[in-house]
Symmetry: C2
């Protein structure tokens, strides 16, 4: 007799067969006496197809109209799923984002949930309905439809779970849990049974791509227990929660991010305020700067290197070129043949030598480290893109049994 | 400087090219200083595709969920059209049925508009926006999405035109106006310049299929002047209004409806209340009975014949079979190889001999009349389906020059 929120991604509902299978997963839990709220993404390629339709009409469609357009995708999938559940003999009702009470800001395309007024959802639950909510969407104060950005359905699910104080929020995907590394890349990768929010957050950020980052932040903030599991195979997934059993596990996982480009600005004046001016300009252009490395000044000049997501390389390049007018520097170079490899583990906070062990593994594999960045629970290194697979396996095997 | 409402059907916006063309039609009028409100249907086959998706999941999906599903079609087309208009350099905003203020009853699948609260539409117009509204849809008092039924976008358009007191409501279709008969069937068919609401109503009902019936009723009630015109060719269409030039025109058009099945109940008791019992049962089963013919009683029994739409034949048959328990009758027969041919014209009210001229034309063509039904401005006959094309041409040519 629990309240369970279940979120299904686009692959899980891509066709009639998959929808029927998802309906079975849902009703199996409902039959046991649980209340079930479902969040669903748009079917398979629907979102991409809609984006293509808009692209045929405009190079630069308005964000408001794109949200109007794309939100139709979840509208289709949520009604289809409700129909499939009803066909199995259970009461189901589909709700759009605005009907479910998702109030967002007006940041079309990547809106943030400001409030979730879940009265309607509660009322439908009290009528013993299985509630199927269109993920990824809400409305702003003008009553216009907004979307939460790609992967936003995870956030929708966590928000509903938080407001309804659900016992569990299950995120069904096409993998069966969170692994110590990407199983397609690292042959010895192992499924993680439990992982802390903070660790999951670093892994999501670092390209593990299992859970949307904002949804993990929100889960952590409201203490929503998450489970990442497969919508195809019926077996336990990975639990994400506040406190996990630390034992002697120092490193929870290894992640690799290839969506990285490195910038180096060479020969900047070694005076105060230079770094501020560089990163302020990048922030104004909405470039997400990740690792930053500043050389010690020499001969009155210094170098600054940093990484940005590959798809922001053009914007960052333009920003730096514009800076050339105000700031004196010799030259700048960019390199997008790089990757970021990271180890994550809450245990690092209290243990020394973890970074050293990583560097040793890379040294043994004869891999050059270009940049290093660390946080309390993470060590990241920038390496050549061509070294990625070897580095990934070497680091993973250093921390996990083969 | 007028306010013009324009409605575009699914064929008119079926792909990017068509959408761009429609955007041009809209902005051409906007450029002249007019306020323009657009109602748009779902693209081409979208509605049918969505129905197919539901059919894969359920034989009998709930009407509420079907409305949720199908309304996504207009959501896609209205945002795409707004994007196309913006791309041409004009301000456009898309609105869903509920955003545009369409309040309906809860008759999912064929809801009626109860109220149109057009404040948002007016506000957008005052901001010089071209307003693109998703046709066919609204919300009920539970904040659930409803649809107005197939062809409901015409009704949406007329409702907006009525509430905004628009100067003209243009219904763009894939034909360029209303004809004296279906041009695909009758080679001498001519385009009608002006037609009265009452005549259009009879023609719509009788299968001319140019304008949705309810939309004509509503236009008549609120005095909204309609124009039916082509979304492809730029030429005047047919104006539908209250008073039209009667001249010596007795018959405005000839229409043919093949969606007809005839029922005959033979040997009913010739006592009072029999007809009531028959048609009350059919009404309870929501069967739309059209022509009714009751024979004069003889030997204490009488026969009743009537027609129903072909797609209600099964329901009607069941109703009659159930009646057999309560009512005594010998047998009943059905025939769906029939068609209804009608002439329509407001001039008939004051002129005699119109029906006789129709019967003469049919007699000359050696076509047998199975049933006859008349109203003030209409004469309909039931004929064999195989005679349809010959009859259609013969009757048309009797009233219109070749």
């Amino acid at each position: 007799m629990a309240l369970i929120v279940k979120k299904f991604g686009g692959t899980s509902v891509k066709d009639a067969e998959r929808i029927k299978h998802v309906a079975k997963i849902i009703t199996d839990d409902y039959k046991k006496g649980n209340d079930v709220v479902v969040i669903v993404s748009a079917q398979g390629d629907t979102t991409d197809d809609l984006i293509d339709k808009a692209a045929e009409l405009s190079q630069d469609p308005s964000a408001r109209e794109m949200d109007m357009l794309l939100s139709a995708g979840e509208q289709i999938s949520c009604s289809l799923l409700a129909i499939a559940i009803s066909q199995m003999g259970y009461n189901a009702v589909s709700l759009l984002g605005w009907q479910a009470g998702f109030k967002t800001d007006s940041n079309y395309g990547s809106a943030r949930i400001k409030k979730l007024e879940a009265e309607r959802v509660k009322a439908e639950l009290s009528k013993n309905n299985i509630v199927v909510i269109a993920g990824f969407q809400g409305i702003n104060k003008y009553d216009d439809i907004t979307t939460l950005g790609r992967g936003g359905s995870d956030t929708s699910a966590v928000a509903v779970a938080a407001v309804l104080k659900a016992d569990l929020c299950q995120i069904y995907t096409d993998v069966d849990g969170v692994y110590t590394a990407d199983p397609r890349k690292v042959k010895n990768a192992k499924k993680i049974k439990e992982i802390a929010y903070s660790e999951m957050l670093e892994l999501a950020t670092l390209g593990a791509q299992v859970l949307n980052n904002r949804s993990v932040e929100m889960a952590s903030k409201y203490g929503v227990e998450l489970e990442v599991l497969s919508s195809i195979e019926d077996k336990p997934g990975t639990i994400v929660k506040e406190k996990v059993n630390m034992e002697k596990i120092l490193v929870r996982g290894v992640a690799c991010d290839k969506n990285v480009a490195r910038f180096s600005i060479i020969g900047l004046q070694d005076t105060p305020g230079i770094a501020f001016k560089v990163f302020n300009e990048l922030a104004k252009q909405k470039v997400n700067v990740d690792i930053i490395l500043q050389s010690v000044g020499r001969d009155g000049t210094k170098d600054i290197s940093f990484t940005v997501p590959k798809d922001q390389e053009k914007t960052a390049r333009k920003a730096i070129e514009e800076l050339k007018g105000h700031l004196q520097f010799k030259t700048f170079e960019t390199d997008d043949s790089v990757a970021k490899l990271s180890i994550v583990g809450a245990g690092m906070e209290t243990h020394h030598g973890v970074a050293a062990k990583m560097f040793e593994a890379l040294y043994d594999a004869n891999i050059n480290i270009q940049m290093i960045s660390t946080s309390e629970i993470r060590v990241s290194v920038l390496i050549a893109l061509s070294d990625t697979d070897r580095a990934f396996n070497a680091v993973h095997d250093a921390f996990f049994e083969k």
